[in-house]
Structures are given as C-alpha cells and as structure tokens.
Symmetry: D2
Subunit: 241 residues, 4 copies
Amino acid sequence: MRVTVWNEGVHEQVDAAIAERYPAGIHGAIAEGLTALLPNASIRTATLDTDAEHGLSQDVLDDTDVLLWWGHIAHDKVSDAVVERVHQRVLAGMGLIVLHSAHFSKIFIRLMGTTCSLAWRNEGERELVWTVKPSHPITRGIEHPIVIDHQEMYGELFDVPDPDDLVFISSFAGGEVFRSGMTFTRGAGKVFYFSPGDQDYPVYFHPQVRQVLANAVEWAVPAHGVALPGVTNPPREWFAT
Amino acid sequence: MRVTVWNEGVHEQVDAAIAERYPAGIHGAIAEGLTALLPNASIRTATLDTDAEHGLSQDVLDDTDVLLWWGHIAHDKVSDAVVERVHQRVLAGMGLIVLHSAHFSKIFIRLMGTTCSLAWRNEGERELVWTVKPSHPITRGIEHPIVIDHQEMYGELFDVPDPDDLVFISSFAGGEVFRSGMTFTRGAGKVFYFSPGDQDYPVYFHPQVRQVLANAVEWAVPAHGVALPGVTNPPREWFAT
Amino acid sequence: MRVTVWNEGVHEQVDAAIAERYPAGIHGAIAEGLTALLPNASIRTATLDTDAEHGLSQDVLDDTDVLLWWGHIAHDKVSDAVVERVHQRVLAGMGLIVLHSAHFSKIFIRLMGTTCSLAWRNEGERELVWTVKPSHPITRGIEHPIVIDHQEMYGELFDVPDPDDLVFISSFAGGEVFRSGMTFTRGAGKVFYFSPGDQDYPVYFHPQVRQVLANAVEWAVPAHGVALPGVTNPPREWFAT
Amino acid sequence: MRVTVWNEGVHEQVDAAIAERYPAGIHGAIAEGLTALLPNASIRTATLDTDAEHGLSQDVLDDTDVLLWWGHIAHDKVSDAVVERVHQRVLAGMGLIVLHSAHFSKIFIRLMGTTCSLAWRNEGERELVWTVKPSHPITRGIEHPIVIDHQEMYGELFDVPDPDDLVFISSFAGGEVFRSGMTFTRGAGKVFYFSPGDQDYPVYFHPQVRQVLANAVEWAVPAHGVALPGVTNPPREWFAT
C-alpha cells in the first residue's frame, strides 16, 4: 500500500499560529496518523513547493495507490498539467481522498463536474460527525458521533453529485448540517471526500479523524491493476471461448 | 389525482391536548393542507375505526393514486390483511407517503426490510430541515431551511436501506441529525418518508410542511396504469415485431 | 416549456445518405417528434453553424428550460466559451438531454468528470431497450422492450459515474449490453443520457424513441427558478424566524 | 472468516441428472470453490435436512460471518423461525449472498420488500456477464465478460429495489438482459445477489463464477462486531466528552 499525502503547504509558511499548530505541516500531521495506524503502508508527503511538479511527477503517481489532497488558498497555483495527470491516474484506479477545503481544488471540481460550493462560517463551532452507513468499511472503529470541539462550519447546500455512499453527516453548533463523508467512483478510481480538518484547528490530531483517514486509505486501494478505461471497437464474438 | 389520508386516529381520542391541537384529527389537518394546495385532487380520509378494514377496502385502494400514512401507538392494531393489500397496491404503482412515527408501521417495515429503528427525544427542540437535492420536485417552493420551532427529535442511526434520493436532512437543537426526507421505489410504486410531524406539536399546520406534502403527492402519482410486477416465461423472440 | 434542440449538423452536409435519411437534419427529426408529443412546448433548433455562438447565445440559454444535444464528428469545433455557458446554465437548473454519440461531447465529459469511453461496433445490429425502473416518469408509455431493428452497438464498460437512476438497459444482437438510459443531477440541473440514435439509422423517427425524448423533456424541466449554487458565509441564526 | 453455505438440497435427491452434475450437492460445489480460493476461511455447509433448524441454529449463525443461500423448489419448506433468525442476523451485520433462484427465497423477499419476480426461460442459452463497476472489489480478477455457455435465462423486469451498487449486467442469447450482480445494505449487513448458477447447468464449477463468489464473501464480512440497530432515547448532550 503506497500512500502519498499532498498538501499545498502555504498556510504553515505564512501564519505562525498555524505553523505552531502543525509543526510538521498539515501533511506531516496526516502522515503521522496514517503511519501509526497503517504500519505496513509506505507513506510519503509532497507539497506545492516540493519541486516544479509539486512532488507529483508521473513516477510518483505511478508509485501511488492512494493520494490524499489538502488545499485551501493556493488551488490556482497547482499546475493544470499536474491536475490532468492526477485526473488520469484516478480514472485508471488510484484512490483519492479529498480533504476539507480541497472541495474547491481543481482536481475535485473536475471529478465532480459541479461548482462544489457550500456555506461556511469560521467561529470554532462544535462539529458532530454521525455515521449513517455503519456497514461501510470506512466506519470501522468510529464512534457515533465523533465529537470535534472546534471546527469551521461547512453547511449545505454542498453542490456535488449524489455520492455512491453517504457515510457521515455532520451537524454544527449553529444548526447547519453537512454531508461530511461521501464516496464517489470516477473511472476505476475510488474517491472519498471528508470535510473535518482545517488549518485553524488541530483536527488532524484527533484520534477518530485519523482512524477515518486510515480506513479510507484501505478502502480506496485499487481493486485491480491500474488501467484507464478506453474506447474499443471489437468484432462480433470477440469474447467467444 | 385521488388521495387517501390515513391516520390511526387514536391519540385524538384519548388525549384532550392532542384533540384540541388537531380538532379534525391529524388526518384532517393533513387533508386540509392538501386540499388548499392541490385544488384538483380528490382527497378522502380514513382511520383505524372507519370500518373493519380501517377504511382501506380494496375498492378504496383501487380508487387511490397516493396514500398518506400516519400511525404511532396502534401499529399493531392494523390488520395484517390490510397491510398485505396496501403492500400489493404499492408494488403495483400506488404512491405512499409515510409520516413521522409511521417509520414503525407494519407497511413501512415490510417495504424496507429493516428494523426502521432510530433515536428519539421528546423535548420540543427546534428542527431545521435542509434541502440537499434542490433538483427534486419535492423541494419546489421550499425554504432552506424549514424552521420548525418545536419538534420531537429523531436521530441517526435511522435503520433503513439507502434511499433513491436523499432530499432533506434535519438537525435538532441538541445536535442530532436525521435523514428526514427520502424517496424509495418498491415495485412500480414511489415511496416518500418525511419525518417532521408529531401529535404533540402543530407541525401539520406549518405552511412549509404542507407544501412538502403536496409536492410529494404530485411526485408520487403512478407513472403508468397500476399493475403488479409478475413472473413471465416468454419464448424466444416473443418481442419480435 | 421552452426547448432547444442542438445538433452539430455536420453529417447532413457531407454525406448524401445521411442527408436523405434526415432531410430536416437530425435536429429537425428530433424537433418534429417533440412538437407532435408536446404541443404546448416552444421548440427551437440550433446547430454549429447557426451563428458564431452555435445558436447558443446567453439569450437563447436564458430562454431554454431543456436543451437536447447531439454531436459526433465535430465535438472539438464547439467553442469552449459556449460549453462553459451551457455548463453554468445546467448547474443553475436547465435540463440537459445528451444523445448517443454526444457521450464524447465537451459538455458531457465536463459534467461527468470521467472519460465517457465505451465499446462500439457499427454493423446495424438489433438493439433491445429494456426498462428497469418502471416507476420513472421517463418510462411512461414505453414498451418493454423497445425494438430497434438496426443500430450501432454501444457496449460496456461505459465510463461514467453511477447514475441517479438507471432507467434503461440495452442489449445488442452481438451480445453486448449498455446502460442506455441514465439520469444524473449536476447542480440544480437534471441530465438524461439516452444512447439510441445514430446518423446511419433512422432511429429518431422511431415512435418509441420519440416518446422517450418527450418524456425526458417533461422530466428535465427545472423544479425551481434557475439559480447557480453559490458560496455563502452566513452568520449564526441567519435563518431564525 | 467463517462461512456457511446453505442449500435446500432437494434437487440432488430427486433428480439423478442433477445428482450426477453436483455429486457433493450444489452446496458442496460452492464450498469446494470457496475452499480453494479462500484458504484461510472456515467453511461449513448446511441443508434443509441437516436438522430441525435446517442446520441454521442460533449457534451456527452466531459463528457465521457470511452466509450463502441457494434454494429453488423448497422455499416454503424453510421454517419461518429460521428465516426470522437469519433476518435478524443479517440486520446485525452478517453478510448474505443470495444465489440464482433464491431470488424467491423467504429471506430475500423479506429483505427486499418487493415481489422479486422476473422473467425466465430454461433453454440453455449463452449468458454473458458484463462488469459495469470495475472499482468494486467483487470484480477483482473477473473477465469482461464472463462467458457461461449454457444457462437459464433470467430477464428484466427484476422487481427489486435499486441496489447500492450495480456490479454486473448479463445478456442472454435470446436478447434479454438482467442485473445479475447487485449489492444491497440492510441494517448493518451487506447483501449480494448473484444470478448465475442453476441446478441444470454446471455453473458452480465455472472458475470465474467461483472467483466472484470468493470475492463476494471477502467483501461481505461485517465491518464491525455484529449488533442489531436499535431504538435509543438519549438525553441531550449524551455524547459530550
């Protein structure tokens, strides 16, 4: 299981409070959680500044089963070529886990085909994350609800297509609700969107949030060898034994 | 459009406060709302005591396009023969709208195949009903959110199969969430479950709740003439022109 | 109900057999069918060559409730600005009906987020279109199966996201199957993909295909006034009554 | 991984040709395939005649993670008490794999809530099983299509609720199609219906059919410890940390 944790990594450079909260970066906090829970996984991190390709060269993607993506204030800094490459790799089977404000990342918008807009309010409200599909492997070991004492509010309408599976619904102290854990299939690739997690709160240190992410990585591993769906023009009876 | 509003009608007989709140019965309040919003519909009501068949004879069902069902403390008083008859009629195409505590009605449990259990708390909390599928015709003219000042809390996990469409999600003052508006298909019939509505609160007089119910009735009208799906044993090329 | 039928309109100009088969163009054949079945609808047509905006100016789109789209050999001739405009309008609520080879149109690929690839073989095989969701309004009056004597084969894997509703599945004489009628929601807009229909066969004169398209137009009309989902940043209790 | 393969086991007793085709019974053939592909699983079999409880005592069910079910001519011989027990166990999380003619088993009808009727024709037609969701773990290692030279035809309309995931669609030589591999969730339990497999054909010796069943068993293992969803009446802030 080869995992790449990607983070734009900008907040940590420009905001001391965030740098203090996430001393190894948001990617570092996420990778730390995965390392503890998935001891057999090979986990690397990359950021916007890793190299000219944001650490997401074709070689890296070819060596990645599941990619996690966090971004917020630098979505437009991500090169279109890299987004195209990630897109093709997801359609070919690579798992993708889209985190919090990455709802507005280029890759997520391209995969969804919608605006991906939502309501938000950053007042540190309590978020409760309720499981609504307990048969789903992403819920393994997850409390009902997860209690996150302080979080940015994300509220409906979240403009995305209907998910394959709605796994979690959150409520916030102010009364808004949000479909906070959803799975999608695009091509041969599995996609999981999970909203808890923000630069202003230490959410990626929360043990239950870490468990969800580890579960999601295991779930998102490709079912097959990776291959892009393509056009074929078969003769009649091509499949005959 | 021929509509039958069914209510067990027991609370109104044994609790003076409820009788005062719903002087024409819960069924009467619902029918009044539908009559105002669907002037071309033919609307009748029936209760457990209407007759030996609870007002749901085969003739009545054959003359019904959409049935609304409210029950709470007398689910087990509904005769199995009537439940069977309603079940067959839904599978043949009759629309069914299942209201609030009717999550535990015999007909709903039979259609769902699950326990239909949930969490509840009756402390008159504010319920907010959020639209999460604005393309759905049931949301026409509905505010986001509907605000219901006092309601019984219904919370997840609501043990039902995944719906065809998740239309509404509610939050309650205490922080719980609930999938409060869901559509299902069973056989040729359309089913809508809508949780707002309780004997202890005047929810069925709420203009927005009434609008949802009227929209749901229009949506649930059978697409075709009504016929039960059945087994066939066709020869090859039976469909040839 | 304001309907715009769009066709690239290139085959008819360069292939005499096709021009003879569709003397009013593919768009003309479709519009003729809709006009007969939806006498109260206002129906217009447009093609790639109608004007610099392919007949899809903002004014035309603002005056369109449902857009039908046919294309095949000129997908790349459609201007990106027009595609962007159509995309925004769909997300805001305009219905979109995507026909046959338009699975590879820019607008459909953008809405789906996948390759939209499939298998094909053009040998005039018989196609049988089977209804698998008879409760859906698009199936009203539709035979089970629709028999199309000669058609291009489209086969799985059709690389699109899971639909909201799978309405039709086709088989072909050669044994392939195809999910030939599927609904999707994108933003506030309803999308229906329907595969029967090809320049080499007179499929758009088939009475049952025409009925499906008329049903789909009625189904795809926006539920509300048209408005693009957007970001909001509401204060707490903004919804309080 | 504890697996129980259940078969009514009647055909094998009364029809010499079937007994010869399936010398260890249909259950034996299925168990043999699972044993080869899931060497770490503990696999037992049971039939209608195993004991008064058809080999499905509470102890056996409590010791079963995934149950496979085959039945055809003796559905009504299965005791209602056993069906109730299996139902409760599925809702609590036990996986259930429903095979071929068990579409009319009491347990499947109860879980679906519909008639589960379909079209059929027993003329040994070729069945092609096409994968339409290649991201699903049940498709791991499965050819596209699976070719089954001789099978009973099962055709649409198959009257079941919309599945969680449509994994396979079959076509038959006569032109009919069938949703032949579908997943459902009921309570905490995962259910997979798979239609290939019949007493008159040696389908359960087909290597690809065996692979599908092994994949399905792995997929259906409960995500959590097994517990029936139940009603709760929590006080406010019961979840507070």
